[in-house]
């Protein structure tokens, strides 16, 4: 709910992001990775659950997600071919933005109820976001058609996850959904905190690199110049050598 609201407020930002074809390609390829990864996670859930009905539903859901991944990948590749944008080689997923999968959970350790609650919320959030994307790519009919198709599937995913959650936990499914919401919020906070810490770490290490490293770099380069290419003869092994990490 919260993220949907934020997404609505950020609609102009989304419009700006999707306007540029380079960014559009990167987004599509990123979604391809996320959908495929999510599909594999849900497949794992299908392999683990003891509930036959859930196995069938998870499998159908996983097939959808894998198909969505293919759709995004093909569209991204098509756009790449036609526009020859700079994001071509090595373009990889940026961040797992839409969060379809169960990548925050250890699937084998979680009961079906928890997975369903988490999936339901993920699908709902993704549907809200994809609806916005569908609207902001009106100038690009093939991409819009992909979002249309995916949104149709999302309805099925949202419905079955909620129905099955209510079937498995008739008395506590609302509580489970709230717990999943809080867990998602906590995970989002952790992701944000990690990203901030990562940025700080990078800045501090870069500063250290230019302040502390130069003399050692000079020594290392001097040593490298003395090294001869080719074979290096190895001394005989010592019996106690397995104790050393160095």
């Amino acid at each position: 709910m919260l993220s949907a609201g934020v997404d609505r407020i950020l609609r102009p930002v989304h419009r700006w992001i999707w306007r540029d074809s380079d960014r559009r390609v990167r987004k599509l390829l990123c979604f391809a990775e996320v959908e495929t990864g999510g599909g594999r996670d849900i497949l794992r859930a299908a392999e683990i659950t003891r509930d036959p009905l859930l196995r069938r539903l998870y499998l159908a859901h996983a097939i959808d997600e894998l198909h969505h991944g293919d759709l995004f990948r093909k569209r991204g590749a098509d756009m790449l071919r036609s526009s020859r944008t700079s994001s071509a080689p090595g373009a990889r997923a940026e961040s797992p933005a839409s969060g379809h999968g169960l990548d925050d959970l250890r699937i084998q350790d979680e009961p079906d109820e928890t997975l369903l609650a988490f999936l339901h919320l993920s699908e709902k959030a993704a549907a809200g976001r994809f609806a916005i994307y569908r609207d902001v790519v009106r100038d690009d009919l093939p991409t819009q058609a992909i979002f249309e198709e995916i949104l149709r599937d999302e309805v099925f995913h949202m419905n079955y996850t909620f129905t099955q959650l209510a079937r498995l936990s008739p008395d506590s499914h609302r509580k489970l959904l709230w717990r999943a919401r809080l867990r998602r919020l906590w995970k989002q906070y952790l992701r944000l905190a990690t990203a901030i810490a990562d940025t700080f770490g990078t800045i501090l290490l870069t500063i250290q690199y230019f302040i502390l490293i130069p003399p050692f770099a000079w020594l290392a380069k001097r040593a490298a110049r003395r090294e001869q290419a080719g074979w290096t003869t190895l001394p005989p092994d010592k019996r106690d050598s397995l104790k050393r990490q160095y």
Partner: protein, 590 residues
């Protein structure tokens, strides 16, 4: 003694358990976590190994890690220093990457397993490769070559090993050190050709068959031979030693042209597609000639008839076949898991035989060390889903499967313990008739979802191998774990179209009955129907996923791709005729 070997943190982590000198089990983490090339600390694999053997961590006499993490860190730091100031972007990344879990392996193992620090041991990376190759091979004395991207500092080592009843010795005589690396050279071309490094190298090998080595002279500018018989790379063409972002430099691009867009399919009918194939053929040719030269020199030096090959480069079947034919060695042994995953087993065996000096024992000569398939799981799931299933005795199952294969069905085949290593060698395989190129196209399109240019491998009984394939002396042995590429005899190529690569070769698996009796019986039964006891054998997975391990993973793969029949003896599940034309989603919901 009970010794656990671990490989982790780079790619394809694994655990292996050796008890009283014999391997008990070994499994890659990816098979359990279902994340391809999972590099995480293999806690799932460790837990499975201990459970399988009925041990607790306290029962372990030693836990051996497959490389010296501090020495590796020294190499990373030194390379950053040498690359100053160009390495300013990679420095923070390298430090964050190393200073987390990777540098503190002893503590990580101690905290996960709760064992005292003094029970945690470390082999050198290439020592572990050498041990995997030598101590699992049926030979008493052999020369050893290990080659991969990089371990701590070494990228290629040569040496020899000797096993007597009283003592085992593995002596690595000399090494080539980072950044000069055959593995990195090949991986750089893998990245340049738009494939994922550490995963797409075999695609380069497959693509090479479509090209001509017209750019060999250009590749030789990148790699020069040194007077002592080794090689050195011209680092002006590379960036992997200073950058984590790109492995080739602008100069490399000036020399070979623009890199391939990974999202664009390779079209071999275009000039660009042919250029990529020629590029692959050229680096393949240079790799082969360098390895053959080094092997030939080692043969002259040691005078030994046997060679054990280890390291990721030993997965290059075309190069392995040339080494066998041209280096002078009579027999070449490549383990089923020559890459980093195999180091878990090698490290444990090295500690047992060399460090603790335990008595030599012959290691069983098969690759099946992983979790076993439970057909009851399949029976339960297929029954609950209302699938067409049968339970057959062994003879009926073989005949039924052979009938289906002969009728053109594609069969998912699971039996026993899963393979340790990247190849499906008959326990987690997709099998099909090898006669028509349409079968190959169908499996690529509907089942594996992979590139058209990639070939499929055949499996053939050892008694019939020579009839269909041009095997040199020692070839059958090298093909035991699908470690070499040999030529299909010209007269059989049209009748073995789905497994014959464009250059007339095939990465054949030569099967001895004792290794996989049921598959062997199936080959015989199929031979009685078709006149040719050869089957297409490809790994039981779809693109981007690890090979299936459990029956349910096989079942879910079966249900969402074009496999017609799934076998986990004694259970056989068949897709109904009408469901074969239904969409995958409809089938799943049916």
């Amino acid at each position: 003694m009970k010794i656990l070997g671990i490989s982790a943190h780079y790619h394809d982590s694994a655990a292996a358990l050796v008890c009283d000198g014999m391997p008990v089990c070994a499994v890659q983490e990816e098979r359990l976590s279902r994340r391809k090339n999972d590099a995480a600390f293999p806690i799932g694999a460790i837990e499975w190994c201990l459970d399988h053997a009925g041990l607790s961590p306290d029962d372990l006499d030693a836990v051996v890690f497959y490389e010296r993490s501090m020495l590796k860190f020294e190499r990373i730091l030194t390379c950053v220093l040498r690359g100053f100031p160009r390495s300013w972007r990679s420095f923070p990344q390298a430090m964050k990457n190393s200073l987390g879990e990777k540098l503190w392996v002893r503590g990580v193992i101690e905290s996960h397993l709760g064992i005292p620090k003094n029970r945690v041991l470390f082999t050198a990376h290439h020592q572990a490769h050498a041990a995997t190759a030598f101590l699992t091979a049926p030979t008493r004395r052999a020369a050893i070559i290990t080659a991969d991207g990089v371990g701590e500092w070494a990228t290629l080592t040569v040496g020899h090993g000797e096993r007597t009843d009283r003592k085992t010795a593995i002596t690595l005589m000399r090494e080539i050190r980072f950044p000069h690396s055959l593995g990195m050279l090949y991986s750089t071309f893998t990245a340049y050709l738009g494939f994922a490094v550490n995963e797409g190298e075999y695609k380069v090998m497959g693509l090479a068959a479509y090209g001509q080595p017209t750019q060999v002279d250009l590749v030789r500018r990148l790699i020069r031979r040194t007077p002592d018989g080794a090689f050195a790379l011209d680092m002006a063409y590379f960036e992997y030693h200073t950058s984590a972002k790109r492995s080739y430099s602008s100069r490399f691009v000036d020399l070979f042209g623009p890199p391939r867009n990974p999202y664009e399919p390779i079209d071999l009918n275009t000039t660009e597609g042919r250029r990529h194939a020629d590029c692959a053929a050229s680096v393949q040719a240079v790799l082969e000639e360098t390895l053959v030269d080094i092997a030939r020199e080692l043969h002259r030096e040691t005078g030994l008839p046997d060679l054990c090959l280890g390291g990721g480069v030993a997965l290059n079947g075309v190069a392995n076949a040339r080494i066998l034919s041209e280096s002078g060695f009579e027999r070449v042994f490549v383990p089923s898991a020559p890459g980093d995953a195999g180091c878990a087993l090698g490290a444990a065996l090295y500690a047992d035989r060399v460090y603790f000096g335990q008595q030599e024992r012959n290691v069983p000569d098969h690759p099946f060390w992983g979790p076993s398939v439970d057909s009851n799981e399949l029976l339960r799931a297929a029954t609950e889903d209302g699938q067409d299933l049968e339970q057959l005795d062994d003879a009926a199952l073989i005949e039924r499967t052979a009938d289906e294969l002969f009728a053109g069905a594609v069969v998912g085949w699971m039996e026993g313990a899963c393979e340790f290593g990247p190849r499906a060698l008959g326990h987690r395989s997709i099998l099909a008739a090898p006669h028509s190129s349409q079968t190959r196209d169908r499996i690529n399109r509907d089942i594996k979802y992979r590139e058209e240019f990639r070939p499929f491998a055949p499996v053939v009984p050892i008694e019939a191998a020579d009839r269909y394939f041009e095997l040199p002396p020692g070839g059958a042995r090298l093909a035991r774990f699908m470690s070499a590429v040999f030529r299909v005899r010209p007269e059989w190529r049209t009748r073995l179209a789905s497994i014959t690569h464009v250059d007339g070769s095939a990465r054949v698996q030569v099967l001895e009955r004792e290794m996989a009796p049921r598959l062997s019986a199936l080959l015989e039964a199929y031979g009685r129907r078709s006149g040719i006891p050869v089957l297409l054998n490809t790994s039981f997975n779809v693109a981007g996923e690890p090979i299936v391990c459990s029956a349910l993973e096989g079942y879910s793969t079966f249900r969402r791709c074009g496999i017609d029949m799934l076998v986990a003896a004694p259970v056989v599940v068949t897709k109904r005729g009408h469901s074969r034309v239904k969409s995958l989603k409809e089938q799943a919901l049916a």
